[in-house]
């Protein structure tokens, strides 16, 4: 509860959380509108928490004992029995903090895009009474919020997202090795990363997770600048991670670079299915609902299993 108190005193964090929440809920509601209600509604009887009664709440859930004691209407809320536990692994390395220096660029920043995506996924999961947890990592585990299915669990997730600073190198392998023991036997692992790392064994690492029986969805997020490399002039490129700076004329290597990045995407695109990993490449100028729809589709197919 201390965290809840803290967040209440940090207006900047609060603003970020609010923005995330609004953005995420708007996204999710937009996607879910017109869909059937969750088949899991009320299927659990385990008390979770009270909430103030608001018109529209089912009066069957009013705890009359509490009304008698406090003369206030509280509605009992029950934790749904969770069908799915989802760990969202957010890459918080320095490369995710790339911001386009080009004035004409309209694409979202990669970190913002990733945060929004994670928030939306979390909201979507929680809204459907699935358990959502968040793990941020770079070359080590930065933050770990275990999965919970109660609706208010979105708060710590959003809080964690708002505080995440993108620094350091990407070391998926080390993170997975730390997590592999605590991951459930069934469930889902969503990895959100730009996969810009010198480590060639990312897929092998994810294959470890996949081979444990977990559903792995890999959101590969890149900024359009990282794909098209549209820079001009004599430029010294300083690394957001720990690589030495490189001075060059982008014109000279544009084609080579584009080829390399396409080879990278192609690599994941080709090898992920064979390892049971769902790979989704996303550019930050693409709408986020595309990722959410894909996620929903995957979740339904998972539930049918």
């Amino acid at each position: 509860m201390a965290e809840t108190t803290l967040q209440g005193y940090d207006p900047e964090v609060l603003a970020r959380i609010a923005a995330l929440k609004i953005h995420a809920s708007r996204l999710v509601e937009g996607i879910l509108s017109g869909q059937h209600k969750s088949p899991h509604k009320g299927s659990s009887v385990e008390f979770a928490e009270y909430k103030d009664y608001t018109p529209g709440d089912d009066i069957r859930h009013i705890d009359w004992k509490v009304v008698a004691k406090t003369d206030k209407y509280h509605v009992k809320q029950f934790e749904q029995s969770t069908n799915l536990k989802c760990h969202i692994l957010l890459d918080a390395s320095g490369s995710m903090a790339y911001r386009s220096p080009l004035k004409k660029s309209t694409a979202m920043a990669k970190d913002e895009y990733a945060k929004t995506l994670v928030a939306a996924l979390s909201y979507l999961l929680l809204r459907q009474y699935d358990a959502a947890g968040l793990i941020t990592f770079n070359d080590r585990l930065v933050d770990h919020i275990p999965p919970r299915s109660k609706p208010s669990h979105l708060q710590p997730i959003l809080y964690s997202l708002s505080r995440t600073e993108f620094t350091g190198e990407t070391q998926i392998r080390r993170t997975v090795e730390e997590l592999i023991e605590i991951l459930p036997r069934r469930g889902m692992v969503v990895v959100v990363s730009d996969l810009l790392t010198r480590d060639d064994n990312v897929l092998k690492t994810l294959n470890l997770v996949s081979s444990k029986g977990l559903e792995v969805i890999l959101f590969h997020i890149l900024h359009p600048d990282e794909v098209e490399f549209p820079f001009e002039g004599d430029i010294v490129f300083e690394s957001l991670e720990d690589d030495p700076p490189v001075g060059l004329d982008p014109h000279d290597i544009r084609k080579q670079y584009q080829k390399l990045i396409q080879e990278l995407i192609e690599h994941y695109w080709q090898h992920c299915p064979s390892m049971g990993i769902d790979y989704q490449f996303m550019q930050t100028d693409a709408p986020l609902d595309q990722a959410l729809r894909y996620f929903l589709l995957r979740r339904r197919s998972l539930l049918k299993k």
């Binding site: 911001r99 810009l196 430029i235 490129f237 300083e238 991670e241 490189v246 004329d249 080579q256 990045i261």
Partner: protein, 714 residues
Amino acid sequence: MTLNFINPVYLWGFLGLSLPLLIHLLTRRQQTRIRFSAVHLLEQAQKRSVRRSQPNKLLLLLLRCLALACLCLALANPLFSFADQNALLPSQPTSTVLILDDSYSMRAGGGESSLFQQARETLAALVTSAPSNQHFSLVLAADPPRALSGWNDDREQLAKTLRASQASFQTTGIGQAFETAVDLLADAPSTQKRILLLTDLDENGWRADEFPSMEGQGASVRILDFSGQQASPNQAAVESVQVSQEFLTHSRMIRVRYRVKNLQAGRALNGLTASLWIDGKQQAQETLALGPGASLEKEFTFPHLGKDRLNGYVKLAADGLLEDNRRFFTYQPDQRLRILLVDGDPRGVSHQNEIFYIERAMNPFSRSVSDIEPVVSTPAELPNRDLSRFSALVLCNVRTLPFGYEEQIERFVSQGGALLVTLGDQVDVKAYNEKLGGLLPVTLRTLNQVNETETPFRLKAATEGHPALSVFSGKMLAEMEHVRIHSFFSVEAKPDRSFLVPMQLTNEAPLLVESDFGKGKVLLYTTSIDRDWNNFPIQPMFLPWVQRWVKYMSQSLDTITRRDLNVLEAIELGEIDGDWWVESPDGQVSRIAPQEDGVPVFSESRIPGVYALFTTPAQAGSEDNKANPAGLKLPPNAHPAGGFTVNVDTRESIPDKIGEAAVHDILRGAPVEISRQTETLQTVKTDGGFSMVMPFLLAMAVMMCAEGWLVRKE
């Protein structure tokens, strides 16, 4: 190896190299720094990429700078030479007398690749590039030598003087040039003294007696031998040309006799073409064959009826030295032979005069192609006669000559005149042998006489193929046997003189003695020319006999015309009441004013060719001409007065080179270093080195093409 610049001022253009540098710096794109995520991919891409933008820009800059540098270098007109010219100069301050051999043998090679041009450009480059502690003075070594500059510190001026100089047509006078150099070194500004001689080491120019003693002069001598640069050897030269005319037939025949020498001692010349050119047109041509080192006399003969002067030359096929392949001549065909008859035994009755018969035989009131105009004189009048106006002088029974007159006669004959001496009872044998001893090839001895009752001497009727007598044959020859001679002088041959005896008596005593003296002929008739000692004058054949001999011996009338001079040789023009004007072959006109003491002399014949003479009455030279002697024009009233030819002295043609040992011997007392310019200069366009203008321009074009290609690639 040296690189010298003709126009070094253009090297300031190197400052222009800052221009592309400035443009490069100004247009260099600002380097920006961007924080980027996939730097490791950039590294990989950069490794794979072939292109390198930054090096290209530097390469562009380099190419532009090089192109500009090449342009500057090309404009500066660089000369590249394998010869290390700086090695010609010591490092310490030195006064150097530059002796440049400008004799005509240095014209070998011709045009811009002549030895002189090479030597001249070498010197000019040396002077231009020499450090400031070097002092120079320049002497041209053609005979006579000329000091063109003293210790002149203005290098540019000296280089200009050098480049403006031309090879002369004179012979070499290295010794006299050294004399001049030694004089110059006496006033040298530096203690170190040197003489740098650029020559072809032609042996003709190295006469030991003309050299000053180099002992104690304190000067070192460096000789650059350019003879190795001569592309082809000097094969042959025309040594002399003599023109004569013959009236032996009814038309006049011009005979051009020339002598050609094969200058190559070890090689025969076959198929050498010699041609005769008259007034710019080729008149005749023949092919000669000469043995190694041999001389050959040949002649061209052609009829000529005109009265105009003949200007021409005999020309050989081209060889390594063109100047001696052509020899000029000028000839004024005679129309009237003026013969000066000196009557040594005048009488009151004309037919008793000594010259009565010969005068009438010369002028029998009949016309032929040539008229003979006898002019009678007495011995006392001789000094008042201008011999140059006569073709021949006939001394008929003259007792003795006026004092000192024999010298005038010798000069007259040596310049082409003819002398006929007939004897008689007036002749003072002793005086003749003394005064005319130089002219006559024989010495007069005793008088041979027979009485009226004795058998006279008879003429031996034989022509022996002599051209003057070749027409006498048959009846005319038989008539010669009727000649009775009562008296004649016996003669004795001088041991060192050659002569002919075209006619003799039956007792083998010479009747007529013929010899050459200079360019003229001397005839001695050992009996009298009148009837005192013989009856020949009343024989029918006496008239043609006189006519033929007079025509034969009078080869030419105009003695001045026949003068053949060497370049710069002075010519005495004779005293006239007016001015002499000389028009040289290149059209320059000189005015020779009367001299108060002595005869007018012209000595500015610097180029070979035919020089035309004109005379004007006194005070005829216009004031304009006097004010501007350099641009003289012939006055309108100038009257042609003959001409003379100037030719090169063929001693310079001899290709023999003086050896190093001989040079050291002549210049003993001074340290001498001889080096040969042995580099092949086949491709040299500008002498003294290979012109680098085109290579630099080509390099610039290549740079510009490469630059354009790179920019297009960018």
